[in-house]
């Protein structure tokens, strides 16, 4: 077996995903030439099945063509999908002889469309990353949709770069016991269980493997390794070990030769096993178990295993979400040249007058040329502080506008300020990643739960942007990505905010910044706002997956935009008046000491009984 990863693009963000390092370094799509090479490799290696995976493989724009090419070569096609497929891919799968292994999680209603249409072509897959799992819903899904009577269980293994949640071997026995019990229920319902790599015999109760039948042969011995061909044509032994070693796909290479090279490189590590006891285990000695997942075994090593081989450093993750400003193509070309490897997407408000966004309308004379010419990913804002009409009334027009932008202008995500509207968009456009706007005012873990299944990214409220414990609680509660705005600079919990944003969004000629009088009276409050300087970003690293630069109104000047973005990306120091913050941010040059800033991240904003910022302001402003 060998897998062909068509794309790193994915429309889910599973916490256990072990391909996180590849996905964070930006979207990479396999070219047709590389796919041809991969098919040649399968044929040369005597492999008769093309296993297409991702990311989400059906998001590759040429997915139907690629799958067709594999069939034409006489290969069987198996697609590893999360079920959230674009319509052309789904139509192709309906009409061709291909199997689908669909990973599922309890209660994800978005998969129903695919399950209903593909029926018994689908085998369900379920990845276990916590001992508190309940697979009972899988039987309901199989019954309801007439799926293949088979479930493939996977263990979430640790990525060597530590980027995912995984099932710790200490929980293996609990999981094995639960699976054995479930297997009895499933078999009574005519459903068989199969097991992916990393399962070991000792995690199951005595007698279970004998009762399991042929599937038991895979338990303990499945890692050969499997080989994953990445979109750029490089081959890794498997995704969890992808950051440790990779090989080019050479013209005359076979799977057996590559496996042998990877096995040789990791042979010393094979001695480890996932448990201390593996070294003296009779089952392992007899060859009936190889000690479990190599990546899980490596977790036992002290210190990290990063020195195992010379792998090129990974490309920097695209972590910056930046504003569209009305600049000519040359500006965007230069921006892409200088910072393209760091920019996740450029955001702009939904064009036209369907609905407003969080800022006053800005010039957009160059927007069309940007959308046509720039290669930077683009995202659209649908985030007025309140919608001008009821959600159900306005949603169809917004969805139509989004469809046009996706199809004609390559928009690849949206930020939405209303949860019901986000839900309607998700139903209509399941492949479009959605971010919950800062204007949803999310501050608490229970709110994060409300976003589940609807929003992939969360921008926490400005009131907790400088509240580290609150951000940590959100980080733990929200399964998707957290995006922090670095320079919005509003006062925490500002009582004037809603009216201010309404005035900005409603197109008033001179929207007022209503906190002006307050700040004249208490200027030190400017130190308490929602901002972080580039040199202090590291204090928030653990709670943020990506950063957003605000500045549609304040960073329109090209040199200033580049200076501020460059400083944030490379963490070069800036003073707070230089970051393009709003009217509540410090206006005069102030030096912000790291110890002071760090203290304010944990102060709980008890300004009524604390003089820290007042005194710091008075001492520093001179």
């Amino acid at each position: 077996m060998a897998n062909i990863s068509l794309t790193t693009a994915c429309n889910r963000d599973c916490v256990y995903c072990f391909a996180g390092a590849q996905r964070r370094s930006g979207v990479s799509q396999m070219s047709i030439e590389t796919f041809e090479k991969a098919l040649d490799f399968l044929e040369r290696s005597g492999i008769d099945e093309a296993r297409l995976l991702g990311g989400e493989p059906t998001l590759h724009p040429e997915f139907p063509r690629f799958a067709e090419m594999a069939l034409e070569r006489g290969l069987r096609v198996r697609v590893f999908s999360n079920g959230l497929m674009p319509e052309p891919a789904l139509r192709w799968l309906e009409s061709h002889d291909a199997a689908v292994l669909m990973n599922t999680t309890a209660g994800d209603r978005r998969q129903a469309r695919t399950l209903g249409r593909l029926g018994n072509r689908v085998t369900l897959g379920f990845n276990i990353y916590t001992p508190a799992f309940d697979p009972a819903f899988l039987l309901d899904l199989i019954r309801e949709h007439g799926l293949a009577p088979n479930i493939r269980f996977g263990l979430a293994h640790p990525a060597a770069d530590g980027s995912n949640r995984f099932l710790h071997p200490v929980h293996y026995q609990i999981v094995g016991t639960r699976l054995a019990r479930f297997h009895e229920e499933a078999r009574a319902a005519g459903v068989e269980s199969t097991f992916d790599c990393g399962f070991v015999p000792c995690m199951f109760p005595p007698g279970f493997l004998d009762a399991l039948g042929p599937a038991a042969a895979d338990i303990g011995t499945r890692c050969s390794p499997i080989l994953d061909i990445l979109p750029d044509g490089q081959v890794v032994s498997c995704y969890p070990l992808a950051t440790l070693a990779r090989e080019p796909l050479l013209e005359d290479e076979t799977a057996a030769a590559l496996r042998s090279r990877f096995s040789g490189r990791f042979s010393g590590y094979r001695r480890l096993g996932v448990f201390r006891e593996c070294a003296a285990c009779e089952v392992r000695e007899s060859g009936r178990c190889n000690g479990g997942c190599l990546a899980a075994s490596m977790q036992r090593l002290r210190p990290a295993v990063a020195a195992v081989s010379k792998v090129e450093p990974a490309a920097p993750a695209r972590r910056w979400v930046v504003p569209y400003v009305d600049q000519p193509p040359a500006f965007w070309e230069r921006l892409e040249h200088e910072f393209g490897r760091h920019i996740r997407e450029v955001y702009f408000p939904l064009p036209g007058d369907v609905v407003g966004s969080g800022r006053p309308p800005q010039p957009a004379a160059q927007l069309e040329s940007f959308l046509k010419r720039s290669r930077l990913a683009r995202a659209v804002l649908v985030n007025p502080i309140t919608l001008p009409r009821p959600v159900e009334e306005i949603a169809p027009a917004i969805i139509e506008a989004l469809k046009r932008l996706i199809g004609e202008r390559g928009v690849s995500s949206a930020t939405v300020s209303n949860l019901l509207l986000a839900a309607r968009i998700r139903e209509a456009l399941p492949a479009l990643p959605l971010a919950a706007s800062i204007l949803m005012d999310i501050t608490r873990p229970n709110q994060a739960l409300m976003l589940e299944g609807i929003c992939d990214t969360l921008v926490p409220a400005s009131s907790i942007m400088r509240d580290l414990p609150a951000l940590q609680a959100l980080r733990a509660a929200f399964k998707g990505r957290i995006r922090l705005i670095v320079n919005e600079a509003c006062l925490p919990g500002c009582p004037y905010r809603v009216q201010h944003f309404h005035e900005m969004c409603a197109g008033f000629a001179r929207p007022e910044s209503l906190c002006g009088e307050l700040l004249e009276r208490e200027p030190w409050m400017r130190l308490t706002g929602a901002w972080v300087l580039p040199q202090h970003l590291h204090l928030l690293d653990g709670v943020s997956d990506e950063w957003k630069l605000a500045g549609r109104a304040t960073l329109q000047d090209a040199p200033t935009y580049r200076k501020v973005l460059g400083a944030y990306i490379h963490r070069r120091p800036l003073a707070p008046h230089e970051i393009g913050g709003g009217p509540a941010s410090p206006l005069a040059p102030l030096e912000i000491d790291e110890a002071f800033y760090a203290r304010t991240l944990r102060c709980g904003r008890r300004c009524h009984e604390c003089n820290l910022c007042r005194e710091y302001y008075n001492e520093t402003r001179v």
């Binding site: 040789g264 590590y269 201390r276 195992v308």
Partner: protein
């Protein structure tokens, strides 16, 4: 302060009956059983060879002179093998 430290390329893990050392550069593995495994563990905790010898007297029931020689011989062999630097 420790006289010896694990070489940068060496990674190690505790096993039921000792420790296993892995050379990250070559992938080669070496198993150590007790009492050598105890010496390795104590070195990585920053203990000096004097302190390790004293602990070995208590753990393995060795005479002080024999314990000291055992530690020094073991450490020297590991230094030559590239497991330790210092």
């Amino acid at each position: 302060m420790s006289e010896y430290r694990a070489a940068e390329q060496i990674r190690w893990a505790v096993e039921a009956a000792g420790v296993v050392l892995i050379n990250g550069a070559t992938g080669a593995a070496t198993s150590l059983s007790y009492p050598e495994a105890a010496i390795w563990d104590l070195i990585t905790r920053g203990d000096s060879s004097e302190k390790i010898a004293a602990k070995l007297c208590a753990i393995a029931g060795l005479e002080p002179v024999a314990a000291r020689k055992f530690v020094l011989d073991t450490v020297e062999a590991w230094r030559k093998a590239g497991f330790l630097r210092g």
